[in-house]
C-alpha cells in the first residue's frame, strides 16, 4: 500500500527525561507546525489590519482638522493602504492557506515547514518595523529620510516573506497530494492558492527590485517617494490588485459546495475560470504609464470580469439546485463576491474612460484606481473573515460564535464598501464631493473597517481559547479532506486516508458509499 503522509520535518523526538520542556513562548516561536504558523499569521494580520485602518482614519481626521482634502499622495494614506494589503488582507489569506491547505490535500505537514515559520516571523517583524516607521513620518513617501528608508525596507521584507509563504503553500499543493488526487481534483481553495502563489511571487519579485533600487540609489525622501509611486504603487492598481481576490474565488466555491452539501458542477470549468482570472491579474508589465494606456491594458482589465461573472453563474446554478444551509461564512463570501464585482465595475469604467484619445467620460482615473484597490482589498478581507468563520472547526478547533462572525463580516462590508464607494463617487464626479463630507466619510468607514478587524481578532481568540476541541459532530457535512479530523472517528479517518481519492470530494464519497471507494492494494 502506498501512503503519502510524511512526518513533519519539524517534528522532534520526545524530550528526554530530566531535560527542561520548552515554554509556551518557545513552543510558539520554534514551531514548524503548519496550523500554529497559520493561526499566528491570522491573528497578526487581523491586529495589523486594525492598526492600518486606524491610521487611515487618523489621516482623514487630520485632514478634517487642517481643512484640506485627504490627499491620495499623502504618506499616511499610501502607507495605510500598503499596510491593509501587506499587513492585513494577504497575510490573512496566506495564514488560512498555511493552516488549511495541507489538510485539504491530506498531508500532515506543509512543504518546507521551517521556511513557512521564517516567512511568518520575517513578516511579523517587518510589519512592526513598518508601523513604527510610519509613526516616525516614514512609511512609504514620508518626509523623514531615515524613517522612509526603514519603511521601504520593511515593506520589501514583507513582500519577500509573503512570497516565501506562498512558495510553501504552492509546493504543498503540487507535491503533497494523496494518491488519486490529481490537480483536477484538488479543492478549490487549494487550486486558487496554486494560481495565486506564482502571481504573488512574480509581482512581489518585481516590486522588491524597486525597493532594492531605492535603497542603493541613496535617494532623498522625495526620491524614495517617487520610487514608490513609479516602481511599487502599480501593484495596488488594476490589473495587479486583482491578485488579492484570487483565493476568494476558491473560498467561495468551496463554501458554496459545503453550504449546499453537493458537488459544484463543471469542476474543470471552475478551475479554468479561476486560472483565467489569475492570468488577467498579472500586471507587472503595467509599471510604466505607457503600459497602462494601451489596448492591452484595457483588454486585461475588462476581460478579468469574464471569469468572475462565469463563476458567479456557476455558483448561482449550484444555489438554485440546492438550498444552502445559511451561515455567516456563506453570507460573507457572497458579500465578498459583491465587493469583487464592485472592483470589476470600477476597473471596466476606467478602461472605458481611457478608450480612444483623451478620456471618454471625463472620469477621474485616480479616484477609480483607488476604488478598485479598496473594493478588492475589502473583498479579500471579508473573504478571509468568511473563510475563518466557516472553517473555524478546522482552523481554530472549535465552532466560531455566529454573532461575532456576523458582526465582523457586516462591519467589514460596511467599512470596506463605504471606503471604496466614496472613491468610486470621487472618480465618477472628478473629486466633486464636499471636502468635509469626504473626510468624515473616509474617517468613519476606515474606523468601521478597523472595528471589523478587531472583531475578527476577537472571534479568533474567543473561539480558540474558549473551546476545547469539540467532539465529532453527527450529521456534519464536510466534503473535503480537511474536515476528516473534525468530523470522522479515528477509524474512519484512517480508512479515508488510505483510500485512493476518486473525486474532488473524498468525504462526500465516503459518506455516500459508507466505505472506502477504492482501496489501494
Amino acid at each position: 500500500m502506498t501512503l503519502t503522509d510524511t512526518r513533519s520535518s519539524s517534528d522532534t523526538p520526545p524530550a528526554a527525561a530530566g531535560s527542561p520542556s520548552p515554554t509556551a513562548l518557545e513552543r510558539v516561536i520554534g514551531t514548524g507546525e503548519h496550523e500554529a504558523i497559520g493561526r499566528t499569521f491570522i491573528m497578526g494580520s487581523l491586529l495589523l489590519m486594525a492598526v492600518s485602518a486606524a491610521a487611515l482614519a487618523a489621516g482623514a481626521l487630520r485632514s478634517l482638522s487642517d481643512g484640506g482634502p485627504l490627499d491620495v499622495t499623502d504618506n499616511l494614506w499610501n502607507s495605510a493602504l500598503v499596510g491593509m494589503v501587506l499587513m492585513g488582507a494577504i497575510p490573512l489569506l496566506l495564514g488560512l492557506a498555511i493552516c488549511l491547505i495541507p489538510l485539504q490535500v491530506g498531508s500532515k505537514a506543509i512543504a518546507f515547514p521551517r521556511a513557512a515559520a521564517l516567512s511568518l516571523w520575517t513578516w511579523l517583524v517587518s510589519a512592526v518595523i513598518f508601523a513604527i516607521s510610519l509613526g516616525l513620518d516614514g512609511g512609504v513617501g514620508g518626509a523623514d529620510l531615515e524613517a522612509s528608508r526603514l519603511g521601504m525596507l520593511s515593506m520589501g521584507s514583507m513582500m519577500v516573506a509573503l512570497s516565501l509563504g506562498a512558495v510553501c503553500v504552492a509546493t504543498t499543493v503540487l507535491s503533497h497530494r494523496p494518491v488519486g488526487m490529481s490537480l483536477a481534483r484538488v479543492p478549490f481553495f487549494s487550486w486558487s492558492m496554486l494560481v495565486a502563489a506564482p502571481i504573488w511571487i512574480l509581482t512581489f519579485g518585481s516590486t522588491t527590485a524597486h525597493v532594492f533600487l531605492g535603497q542603493i540609489s541613496q535617494a532623498n525622501a522625495a526620491g524614495l517617494a517617487l520610487r514608490y509611486e513609479a516602481g511599487v504603487a502599480w501593484f495596488l492598481r488594476a490589473p495587479s490588485v486583482y491578485m488579492l481576490a484570487i483565493p476568494v474565488l476558491g473560498i467561495s466555491c468551496d463554501l458554496v459546495a459545503q453550504g449546499c452539501g453537493r458537488r459544484i458542477a463543471r469542476y474543470g470549468t471552475v478551475q479554468a475560470l479561476i486560472a483565467m482570472f489569475g492570468v488577467f491579474s498579472f500586471g507587472a508589465w503595467t509599471q510604466t504609464s505607457g503600459g497602462r494606456e494601451n489596448i492591452l491594458w484595457i483588454a486585461f482589465v475588462a476581460l478579468a470580469a469574464v471569469p468572475v461573472l462565469g463563476l458567479l453563474g456557476l455558483i448561482a446554478d449550484t444555489l438554485r439546485h440546492q438550498k444552502p444551509a445559511v451561515s455567516p461564512g456563506l453570507i460573507g463570501v457572497l458579500l465578498a463576491f459583491l465587493l469583487l464585482l464592485g472592483g470589476m465595475l470600477a476597473g471596466v469604467l476606467e478602461a472605458l474612460n481611457t478608450s480612444g484619445s483623451g478620456t471618454l467620460f471625463s472620469f477621474e482615473a485616480v479616484g477609480l484606481g483607488w476604488a478598485q484597490s479598496l473594493f478588492l482589498l475589502s473583498a479579500a478581507f471579508i473573504g478571509g473573515l468568511a473563510a475563518l468563520s466557516a472553517w473555524s472547526r478546522v482552523v481554530l478547533r472549535a465552532s466560531a460564535p455566529g454573532a461575532i462572525a456576523s458582526a465582523a463580516i457586516a462591519a467589514g462590508l460596511i467599512g470596506g464598501g463605504l471606503l471604496a464607494t466614496v472613491f468610486l463617487i470621487q472618480g465618477l464626479t472628478g473629486f466633486g464631493l464636499n471636502l468635509s463630507f469626504y473626510n468624515v466619510w473616509v474617517a468613519v468607514a476606515a474606523a468601521v473597517l478597523a472595528l471589523s478587524a478587531l472583531l475578527g481578532l476577537m472571534l479568533t481568540l474567543v473561539t480558540s481559547r474558549g473551546h476545547a476541541r469539540q467532539p465529532v459532530t453527527a450529521g456534519a457535512a464536510g466534503l473535503t479532506l480537511e474536515w476528516a479530523q473534525a468530523e470522522l472517528s479515528p477509524e474512519d479517518q484512517a480508512l479515508v486516508m488510505r483510500t485512493i481519492v476518486a473525486s474532488p470530494y473524498p468525504l462526500l464519497d465516503f459518506r455516500f458509499t459508507g466505505e472506502a471507494v477504492e482501496e489501494d492494494k
Partner: protein
C-alpha cells in the same frame, strides 16, 4: 501517483486484539524519504521570483539608459573580452551541471562529485571575473549610472553566489547518501536555479554589455 509516493508508517495503528499484542514491541519506523519533486517545485517558485526581480532591474536599466542617450557610461570603458569570457564560462557550467544531474540519475556518484566540483569551479571563476570587470570598468556608485549598473550586475552576482552555496549544500548531502537515482531532487533543484542564473546572465550580457 509516483511523484507523491513516500515511505512512511501508517498514521493510525489498529487496536491491539490481545494483551500479548498490546505489549509486543513496536517495530522500528522505516526512514521517511522526502517527497518527490518537493524541492524542485520550491526551487522553481523561488527562482521565478528572483528572475522577476532581476528582469525588473534590467528593464529599469534599459529604460534609464534609453532616456539618458549618448551620455550613458560616456566616461567609462567596458571592454567586451571580460563579459564574453564570463558568458563562455557560464555556458560551460551548464554542460557540467547537466553532467551532474545525468550522473546522479544513474547512481554514478564519482562523476556526480566531479561534475559538481567543476561546476563550482566555473562559478567561482565567474565571480572572480566579475570582480575584475568591476575594477576595470571603474564605475562609481555615485555617478548616475552607478546604482542601476550595480543593482543589475551585483544582483546577478548574488544569485550566482547563492547558486554556489546551494550546490555546495547539495554536494554535501549527496556525499551523505541522501541523493541517488531514486531521489535525485536536490541536484535537479540546484540545476534549475543554476540554469536560470545562466539564462539571466545571457540577458545581462546582451542588454548591458553588448548593447552598452
Amino acid at each position: 501517483m509516483s511523484d507523491t509516493a513516500t515511505l512512511s508508517p501508517p498514521e493510525v495503528d489498529s487496536p491491539p486484539e490481545s494483551p500479548q499484542a498490546a505489549v509486543a514491541p513496536t517495530p522500528a519506523l522505516p526512514p521517511t524519504m522526502p517527497r518527490r519533486r518537493e524541492l524542485i517545485f520550491g526551487t522553481v517558485f523561488v527562482t521565478a521570483g528572483v528572475a522577476m526581480a532581476l528582469l525588473t532591474l534590467i528593464g529599469s536599466y534599459l529604460a534609464t539608459r534609453d532616456a539618458a542617450g549618448a551620455a550613458w557610461l560616456a566616461d567609462n570603458q567596458i571592454a567586451l573580452t571580460q563579459p564574453n569570457m564570463q558568458m563562455l564560462t557560464m555556458v560551460m557550467s551548464v554542460v557540467t551541471m547537466q553532467w551532474a544531474v545525468w550522473s546522479i540519475c544513474r547512481d554514478d556518484r564519482y562523476h556526480t562529485y566531479l561534475a559538481i566540483g567543476v561546476t563550482m569551479l566555473l562559478g567561482i571563476a565567474f565571480v572572480n571575473q566579475s570582480t575584475f570587470l568591476f575594477k576595470e570598468a571603474g564605475i562609481a556608485i555615485t555617478q548616475p549610472e552607478g546604482p542601476l549598473f550595480y543593482a543589475v550586475t551585483l544582483g546577478h552576482l548574488a544569485m550566482v553566489i547563492a547558486g554556489l552555496v546551494f550546490l555546495l549544500l547539495m554536494a554535501f548531502r549527496t556525499l551523505g547518501g541522501q541523493y541517488s537515482s531514486r531521489q535525485p531532487d536536490g541536484i535537479g533543484a540546484a540545476a534549475v536555479f543554476w540554469y536560470a542564473g545562466v539564462a539571466l546572465y545571457a540577458v545581462i550580457w546582451f542588454a548591458v554589455y553588448i548593447q552598452k
